[in-house]
Symmetry: C2
Subunit: 234 residues, 2 copies
Amino acid sequence: MLERKMVPVEQIRQFRIFRDLGDAIVDEIRRSAWIKSLAADEVLFRQNDPVRRSYFCLSGQVKLFRLTRAGSEKIFTIASSGDSLRDSISLMAGRLYPLNCTAISASEMLSIDPEFIADICHRSRDARTSLVEALEQRIDELVDHAELLSVDKASFRVASYLLNEYRRNGSKRSFRLGSSKKYVASYLSLQPETLSRCLRHFRQNGIASSVNRRIEIHEPERLEQIVHGVDAAA
Amino acid sequence: MLERKMVPVEQIRQFRIFRDLGDAIVDEIRRSAWIKSLAADEVLFRQNDPVRRSYFCLSGQVKLFRLTRAGSEKIFTIASSGDSLRDSISLMAGRLYPLNCTAISASEMLSIDPEFIADICHRSRDARTSLVEALEQRIDELVDHAELLSVDKASFRVASYLLNEYRRNGSKRSFRLGSSKKYVASYLSLQPETLSRCLRHFRQNGIASSVNRRIEIHEPERLEQIVHGVDAAA
DNA sequence: CATTCGGATTGACTCAAGTCAAACCCACCG
DNA sequence: CGGTGGGTTTGACTTGAGTCAATCCGAATG
């Protein structure tokens, strides 16, 4: 599943770390990078394996997760086309992947030698600034996620998630979930049943409704209130 | 509360980011850094304020936390002497502090202009490698923390925490908690009552006991088993 | 078009963590 | 040495998320 064919320049430049690089460096990347094609459910890497390649998602969808002692999976991130797998970057030899990564659907990943990325960072000021920025942003995301999980009320978590997605989609009343509810539930560390009941509750109160993966936000203000603990309908 | 007195070189080199720097650069840091002294409960920075200074803990203890909608605090990290506040670093202007920071006890913080840190990273290969490494490690820590919180069983969280502390203290049977149980509970996103009951449970089963802040681990193997979901005493 | 399989939903039940209130204990201070 | 206050522990009670089981539905398949 390894293709040597040259990756188009725009495909490389879509990732922030590579955006500001000169043509010469981008061309170096094109010549040394691979495309790794994954079938659905194929494993890209496992938690605690040494980092040998760094990945960037060109198409499809992958999940980054850990296994619980019960054997089920807790999803930390779902990455789609255009997302950098920031958890797979290592400037120094010796880092271990903190998570498992498996394809949800057939996917293509840009695969780059982490040492080559390190090399680029040492050569380009812009590249290293972007890299650090990307890592800092990842830290902020994880703090947000930990905060989400620290609240035990399920409706808070769901409201918070819906509000995030709503804003990410340009505050449009209607949008599609990025993945199945099963995965959303795992991301929120809830049982699918609990997520389902929460959405029903929101539907009955006219706050939001869902048909399959299509979500309709009727009253974003009330979601806001639930997140901030004001609304009693929580 | 601003002292201009020169910080000793060893004090600066104790932080990994600065460890491998040449004397000339360390001396630049000494001349441009301040010491910020904090009284107990004094605020160092607030969540969402723009990052104006980056901090490194020289003495005392500070907590990094967010406020919940109920007004209580959820602690993410407790930093003591020798710890870098990695969440206060920003290579680019525009980052906001992701957390609040307040002194638990009287503390002294090394305060450095983030632009100066950026400058050092651009000049020293070692420094930027250490910085990226520090951020990657912070990401791994936060993933671990999110995993901890995703498990709803309180005894898992407590066992996992005790095991971590046990190992961090060189696997000695007896050690002191770094902070009051109230803060430990907040870190684990548990109520103090729940933590207390958990410890009682461990005491009754001969797994571990605590007198004030002193912890005695009697059977580390069983903690291990609880964390991995084997032990029924969970 | 019928079949099938995985995801989604619903209901009934259980139980562990949260909550409230009270007692306790240690450290600090006058 | 007694008093005060914050952290800690304990008990009684409530509640909401997990669990198990059954059903429903939709998309993919032949």
